[in-house]
């Protein structure tokens, strides 16, 4: 993405190039421009449609035909509607062992950056119904915790970062429609699953105190609320 951006920001320089008196620096710039243009074109074309479709089908085996998630032996998370930056960051986290997960580490290891972008874009555009599955009687309590936090217990409002509809923002994940069991597993296990590579600190540290400050019944309630949220 950054590559494409810098290529675009270089482009306007092509106009004044002709009329400029001192041509030499511009020649360098022009070469750079061409190099950038060539790389980004080549990369984009490097992921063929059929390769993306094949890889997508492979992801869908476990994450559900529309990325709605799946209750396998493990709760397999919903990817539909997920933020592209978040998916990208997590796939890199599996490779870099920031997030140890033997299965996903192997999955992520063979993905090129362009394939990751292509897959993340596909999943973001899916919009299936939430899988649900949380106890209905916990939803109201969960909604309150999500929107307001638990100020007297120093639990921050989830909505401040994840948004009032839990749709996320860039590296902050969408939570709406996420699997009940998956949310419980992540929140009760945060500091054993995330940010595990001391040499490569990541944004997961933000959630650590929140995960710790929630009681188990509060975690269950938030998970129930989110599991049914469109």
């Amino acid at each position: 993405m950054k590559l494409i951006n810098s290529y675009r920001s270089l482009r306007p320089e092509e106009g004044p190039l002709q009329s400029a008196h001192r041509i030499l620096p511009f020649v360098g710039l022009a070469i750079l421009t061409i190099v950038f243009a060539a790389t980004s074109r080549a990369d984009a074309a490097a992921v063929s449609n059929s390769a993306v479709e094949a890889k997508l089908a492979y992801c869908q085996d476990c994450h559900g035909p529309l990325g709605q998630g799946y209750r396998g032996f493990f709760p397999i998370p919903r990817l539909a509607g997920q933020q592209i930056e978040y998916l990208d960051n997590q796939l890199r986290a599996f490779v870099e062992r920031r997030r140890p997960n033997p299965i996903m580490s192997n999955v992520a290891h063979v993905l090129s950056p362009d394939m990751i972008t292509a897959l993340a874009t596909k999943f973001r555009d899916f919009n299936p119904k939430p899988l649900g599955g949380g106890p209905k009687e916990l939803v109201a309590k969960g909604e309150r915790i999500f929107q307001d936090g638990v100020p007297e217990a120093n639990v921050a409002a989830c909505a401040a970062c994840h948004g009032p509809k839990a749709l996320g923002y860039e590296q902050i994940p969408r939570l709406a429609g996420q699997l009940y069991r998956y949310i419980i597993k992540e929140l009760t296990n945060w500091s054993k699953e995330r940010g595990q590579n001391p040499a490569k600190l990541d944004t997961s540290f933000i959630m650590a105190p929140v995960a710790h400050s929630l009681t188990r019944s509060q975690v269950d309630a938030v998970a129930a609320y989110l599991s049914d949220l469109k």
């Binding site: 929107q147 921050a156 909505a159 970062c161 749709l167 902050i172 933000i206 929140v210």
Partner: protein, 239 residues
Amino acid sequence: MPTRPTLRQAATGPLSEGRGRRIVKIVGLQVALPLAILAIAFATAPARAKDDATAVSKQALEAKIKYCEVCHGQSGQGFQGYYPIPRLAGQQPEYIKNQLEAFDERRRVNPIMFNVAHVLSPEMQTALATDFNKLNPKPFGGGQKDLVVTGKKIFEEGIANTDVPPCASCHGPEAKGDGQFPRLAGQLPDYVFKKLTNWSKERGQDPAKPDTSAIMEPIAHGLTEPQIKAVAAYLSYLQ
């Protein structure tokens, strides 16, 4: 809003006691006795409130700071969540306290911060505000670099032909603020933009309690969106 008004009532203990005495003369002892008990309860409350000032335990404060930092950043430098979450580092304690009260009194409408502020005792507010004032992380940055020069000019000189005064005249030449005037240096650009384009819908929302936010209103209105973006860009890199 049960918690805070009760505390404030408590602070006016002697007055309640006085009123209690006057009522004793009018009504019979039967009513006066429970009233007297109430009056004593109120009278002893200020002593407790005074204890509270020293009674914000280090542990409670640390826990609350951690809670603030989840959203406002590990060193109070601000954070781009779903909303731009403002920098608190180096902020004026008076400003922070005034804003926390504003959230609680709905002068400044923000459901999340209302809940946050509602459970804070005045002593905790002071302790938190003092703590954030001492932090000095690098600015979050993120403003449009090519607008910085324009932004600096507006900040320092204002825009004479549209009656926009220099921001520096109240916020200081280095945008560090003073008392109730907030520090703006290092503030998140999206936050500055959102506030200035939305001023009269977010601030001074209780007609019964006009506050200092009225000062900024004509200025926010006088600025165009490109001018606001420029000022925001300048401030976002300011140490």
